[in-house]
Symmetry: C3
Subunit: 174 residues, 3 copies
């Protein structure tokens, strides 16, 4: 089970800003997932090409099971993560973006400005998380119960979560 | 008023699995719609081409007013109903997928994995329902109040529902 | 700060119907925004080409900061505002449509039929509002708290709102 964390930020990629979002995702995953997994972390600048290329390499060469991105999903001109996503995913999962925005809206009215999305490419699931560290835990809490079953369905590795933190749901097969 | 029910399932189309979802939709419709209508039912395998072709024939040759599909909307590689829908509908109605996922989320956290959508082609309205029979009634209950007015707006036939089951809503014309 | 209000209606553009939606938007804006702004209003017929062309001119020639449209977002054949929007916006903001439909669903079950969307082009933010005047105030109330910050992020002009009416939210910079 390989999980990739991709921090998308011009400033962090130039070292002008310490990446705190990537580590926040890693900490959350290590608290919640109880089965073995490895993590790779990358930091890339904003923009369609760098984000697309790192996602393609993670899917097609490294065969990451789960890829979590942070950053680049707002309405500003340099926020181009969704445009990169559209060049990478072969199947979009609109329910993730809807749920992430709805959950976040309970905290802040500007949640509707987020363009977060999710989708799959081969046996990789890619989910965009917000850029701000304070929103990351909240976002992972809001959607992660559905992630293990999604990984099962696309033929990725199997994970189990600490039920005290996230109650993984796997429907009985039809 | 012609209503088509399309079951999308590799196993059901090969006879390896009894189609219970199609009949569940038919039963619901016969309980709820009080004006006359005919039903046609079809079973097709998963995949963009068979789903697209049956939907095109139902819209362009049989002039079905309402087409309800079941199956093929998950994240698994064989789930390609949304990709077929995108080749068929000329006007997408994103509110159906949003409402179907939101209503279903009250029952199961994996509802966010559904890629259900709806849209129109000519005078036909096409709505994707979930594959699991247990979710079908719940889904129809969640959206059907808006269906008769949508059919009016696109020039399809007129239906009335049993108000004890579904309160059809038709706004006063502006 | 230039705000454009675009009424999209075959009947209103031919003078067969008094445009009450455009004035309803203007009244709301004058009540809520407390910083200086100018308003331009236009009335165009339904259809991809007239809507696209007026939006392009407002963005690229008049450099409107905020463009609010009313009409043409339903499922009827002449409702083509979303198709025009897709030719104009370079960055879609799906959270607006989701929130507008969800808020409206509390009032009417046919809210799921709306295809309203929002997006940006350069330093212009474009938001589709419903056609019916009665729904316009309700819709503006549902999303406007996020609008000033969105204008900041895309490099448009700055606005402040009367906090008794709309509590503008600007997160602390990260």
């Amino acid at each position: 089970m390989l999980i990739a964390i991709v921090t998308i930020s011009d400033r962090a990629s130039r070292g002008q800003y310490e990446d705190v979002s990537g580590p926040a995702i890693e900490t959350w995953l290590r608290e919640v997932i109880v089965t073995p997994f490895e993590i790779v972390r990358q930091i890339v600048p904003d923009g369609v090409v760098p984000v697309r290329d790192v996602l393609l390499a993670l899917c097609d060469e490294q065969h990451a099971d789960l890829i979590l991105t942070t950053g680049g999903t707002g309405p500003a001109p340099r926020d181009q993560t969704p445009e990169a996503m559209r060049e990478v995913v072969t199947s979009e999962l609109p329910g993730f973006g809807e749920q992430l925005r709805r959950a976040s809206l309970e905290q802040t009215p500007t949640a509707i400005l987020s363009r977060q999305m999710a989708g799959t490419r081969g046996t990789s699931l890619i989910i965009n998380l917000p850029g701000k560290p304070v929103s990351i835990r909240f976002s992972l809490d809001a959607v992660f119960a559905a992630v293990p079953y999604c990984l099962d369905l696309i033929g990725a590795g199997r994970i189990e979560t600490d039920p005290a933190r996230v109650k993984t749901f796997r429907p009985a097969s039809s």
